[in-house]
Amino acid sequence: MDPDFEMKTIRSINDEDIVSVLGHRNPGESYKSVHPPLDEMDFDDDLMKDLVEPIPGAKEGGRTRYVQFADSMYNAPAHPYDRARTYMSRFRGVDTGTLSGRQVIEIRELDLEKISKTLLETEFFDPAKTGLRGATVHGHSLRLDENGLMFDALQRYVYDEETGKVSYVKDQVGRPLDTPVDVGEPLDEEHLKEITTIYRSDNVGMREDKEALEAVLTIHEARTDGGYGLGVFKNDLKAKLGDDK
């Protein structure tokens, strides 16, 4: 989450492969635009436009496109809420949406590809427990398969039992790719347990789990206090009654 923290790059995927997995344009194809470059457009004087430097994609007038990740509950390196905060603190000009099992980023296509590269090549991504999914995302809460892969009804990525590597055979939404994209070996499960941001423990009753109880109670208290505004109302009432001196 800390934007100054440098994430370890653990694999390298070439740009063209990322473009083909995203599936928004063919590799080598030029970016489609929705408006002319900003330099060529006439605007009324606006102080805000001088203050804010547009991101490269916006300058060029590129389309807004998306990338979406699903994170398995079984110790994926990141989880949706974390992703949202990270995206906000690290990248400019993103619109991100959080759902229980998946997280989408929308941004101009040019910038999207750079961001996707960062997200795919660093420890943010695990080939087995994280999935690049545009549609039919279901699977984050299901048991893993025998090779440790998260369920995917469209099976966009497959595990090669001989090489131990995972490769994408379909793009984000399930269209077959011409050449499979190798995304490397899944991370070690012990290592994932250490780096994951997900709190989970299996087969433990809620009442036996002290840490979880504490967290739930804290949230409950904070929500109740905040929601009813107990302190605020009291002070406000006192002020109205002239009792606040």
Binding site: A135, H138, E146, Q155, V173
Partner: protein, 162 residues
Amino acid sequence: MEQIKAIDVRIFPHRRLKPETTEKILSELLDLEGVLRFLVNGESLPNVVGYGPARGTSVNHPDRKIITVKGKEVELLVSVGEIVVTIRHENLEDFVEKTKAILEETLNFGFDVGVGVFTRTKTTVSDHLKIGYGIEDDIDPSLIGLVDPKTNSKETVKLIGD
């Protein structure tokens, strides 16, 4: 019809099973005594992509395979997550013991084996709503709880053995 005492045994592996493993487990379980029927359950796998830009393209899921159990071909429509076996009550203890032994041998991860009633034993109100009253007279009682009465049982039910 002669009444028998039957009970369900539920096998719940901690990982989703590959078709090959399912095939192996099913074949070995079928050899045990007192087995009446199997319910292979799990997350269903589509044949074609249902929605999104890739709608209509075929999925070719590696888990949706045709497996051979006792010489009969069975198409797996799901990614196998649990297997419920209905057995004769008198074979229960022996069966559970042997099942555990088989699973320990074939699986390299954890599993749970539970005994109880895990399938429906009676037709329900929604069954009546779906296909109308009188369904009890039409349906083979051994199929109750095994399939959704509305599905095409030709696809989902396979008769193996005698």
